[in-house]
């Protein structure tokens, strides 16, 4: 179990995500099970919660996004419960694998997004690895 402190947005709420695998390292076809705890939302009413498992590209190009798992919780009772803590799981696909290229990078992450009654939203993103592709390097000169 591991806590990922990485937050994508800075705000009062804080979401701690617990991955079942050590070092957030997964392989294609693995079962990804995630548990999370929401803190710091006292006094603000959560209207909707979205859970997602996505991959996105990073680097020089425009960002592309692929959604592997998406779940939207709108039921008032379920939101009240999931607004404190929650869990979800999915089986990872065969591709794409996490990749650390020079101008193209592929990253996998879990996102928990809270929509508040005031209209604003808060997203917490927690990166994990799929596969074990070593980082890309420039080929030696002369080739």
């Amino acid at each position: 179990m591991m806590v990922d402190p990485q937050e994508r947005s800075v705000g009062n709420p804080r979401i701690e995500v617990f991955f079942a695998h050590q070092r957030r390292q997964y392989e294609p076809g693995d079962r990804l099970a995630v548990r999370y705890v929401v803190e710091g939302c006292e006094g603000e009413m959560i209207r909707v919660i979205e859970h997602s498992v996505v991959w996105y590209t990073e680097g020089k190009g425009e960002e592309d996004l692929g959604v592997h798992f998406f779940e939207r919780i709108t039921d008032r009772g379920a939101v009240a419960s999931a607004g404190r803590d929650g869990a979800f799981e999915t089986t990872l696909p065969a591709s794409p694998l996490s990749y650390e290229g020079l101008i193209v990078k592929v990253r996998w992450c879990v996102r928990v997004r809270l929509f508040f009654a005031s209209g604003r939203d808060f997203v917490s993103e927690h990166v994990f690895l799929v596969g074990r592709i070593p980082p890309a390097r420039l080929p030696p000169r002369g080739l």
């Binding site: 997602s52 680097g59 020089k60 193209v104 592709i133 890309a136």
Partner: protein
């Protein structure tokens, strides 16, 4: 109330702009397009389409007797010269409506356009004084008569094409933005079906079944090889260069021909406008230069002969070994011919209003190298080798703006021509047995690193 920030979190090499401001700006842009389309569409419908439709559906038929011919003088201000006069042909006709005999200067068609005086007189020559012809008058304004009905299809086309395109682009963009308002990017991406319909300019990415992010390889395996199983298609920039130069030369010289028609006729008539000819000369020089470049690039592309690469299996797997046949046709001597395995990253991004693309090769492995290659007209040069995909290789990947592409590259240095490079794309899949293969690869690598 807090306004959205102009810039959001930095991503990779650049800082991404605020999504909220982007959505707002995009929405305003499409709303302006929609409003402009509706405005110009309304003008065309009320000024052109509606009057024409009324003539064809509401005007009442009668019989007219032509009494006289005339021209209506249409003037419009043309500063600083004053006014410019054009002419419309008109016919004085006698006809009866509800028992009342009337006389009126009738238009010949619904949209008589103002033309030069001689042209307007020419249009009247086909009408004979005293002749009885059918006519149609406006029941609300009986003095308004036309002698020919029908539709101006080019005007309808104009109404459909110009304002229609603005309404379509603006409307679909606005609907797309309204639909995206208040929704997370994950939710939008998870329901991309309608978005693709609303954004027909977006390039869809076709992934291989069961392998998200991996490009389809149908086009790479539809050509059987002569010796090995598949002949790989060539992806050569030199062919696009030939096409580009040819297209430019054709278009430019067409423009030159159009520009040269007037001065040419003047020259035949014995008049020599030296100023016009002097203006034409630079266009002519560029046209000749375009043809020369096209012929040169065509010679370079065809003189070397075709290169073929065949492979024993496809798609490829990390750690796999595959037989490869390299064949080079033509008649010239090549000082060297080499085959390489390459991995290229490609990123497409917007810079201002331009869309740019950048490539970088992150893996290059020599597969075969030959010297003093002499293909004969009757028998091509052939060599067989084996290519091995690294066990920890990244698989082929493609998304809307990013790609990681594997390819076999043939580089040659001919004896008397510039060096050439031809690429043959291949698709590499993720490890076949997923987790186990990936772990085994990792463990093997760890063992190698252990002293």
């Amino acid at each position: 109330m807090r306004l959205p920030r102009l810039y959001a979190k930095k991503r990779g090499h650049r800082r991404t702009v605020s999504r909220e401001w982007g959505v707002l700006g995009d929405g305003i842009f499409h709303a302006i397009l929609l409003a402009a389309g509706m405005f110009f569409g309304g003008l065309l419908v009320s000024g052109v389409v509606a009057p024409e439709w009324r003539i064809n559906h509401e005007f009442v038929r009668t019989t007219c007797t032509i009494q006289a011919k005339g021209l209506a003088r249409i003037t419009r201000p043309d500063p600083p010269a004053g006014v410019v006069a054009h002419w419309e042909p008109r016919l004085l006709v006698r006809y009866s409506t509800d028992g009342v005999v009337r006389e009126s200067w009738a238009r010949i068609t619904a949209h008589d356009t103002a033309v030069e005086r001689d042209t307007a007189i020419g249009r009247l020559s086909g009408w004979k004084l005293g002749a009885e012809v059918p006519g149609w008058f406006d029941p609300g304004v009986p003095d308004d008569v036309v002698l020919q009905r029908g539709y101006s299809f080019w005007l309808w086309l104009l109404v459909l094409l110009l304002p229609g395109a603005l309404v379509l682009i603006g409307g679909s963009g606005l609907v797309r933005r309204l639909r995206a308002w208040g929704k997370s990017e994950e939710r939008l991406a998870a329901s991309a079906g309608l978005s693709e319909l609303l954004d027909p300019l977006a390039q869809p990415v076709h992934a291989a079944p069961g392998h998200p992010g991996v490009p389809q390889w149908d086009d790479l395996v539809n050509s059987p090889g002569t010796i090995l199983r598949y002949r790989l298609p060539v992806e050569s920039p030199e062919y696009w260069t030939v096409f580009g130069f040819g297209f430019f030369a054709l278009l430019w010289n067409l423009v030159v021909v159009v520009l040269a028609v007037g001065p040419g006729l003047d020259l035949l008539g014995g008049r020599f406008e030296w100023l016009v000819v002097a203006l034409l000369v630079p266009f002519l020089i560029v046209g000749v230069g375009g043809v020369v470049l096209f012929v040169r690039s065509l010679l370079l592309a065809t003189a070397i002969g075709t290169t073929q690469v065949e492979i024993s299996a496809h798609p490829l797997l990390p750690g796999g070994r595959y037989d490869v046949l390299l064949a080079q046709g033509g008649t010239g001597v090549l000082r060297s011919l080499e085959l390489l395995l390459e991995l290229e990253e490609q990123a497409t991004f917007r810079q201002g209003t331009d869309t740019r693309s950048e490539q970088i090769t992150v893996y290059r492995q020599p597969v075969a190298a030959c010297g003093d290659v002499r293909p004969a007209p009757t028998s091509r040069f052939e060599t067989r080798t084996v290519v091995e995909i690294p066990a920890d290789a990244m698989h082929s990947f493609t998304s809307a703006h990013n790609a990681v592409r594997w390819r076999l590259v043939v580089r040659g240095i001919p004896d008397r021509w510039p060096a050439f490079s031809r690429a043959f794309p291949v698709v590499v899949l993720p490890p076949a047995n997923g987790a186990a293969a990936s772990r085994a690869t990792h463990d093997a690598a760890a063992e190698r690193e252990t002293p």
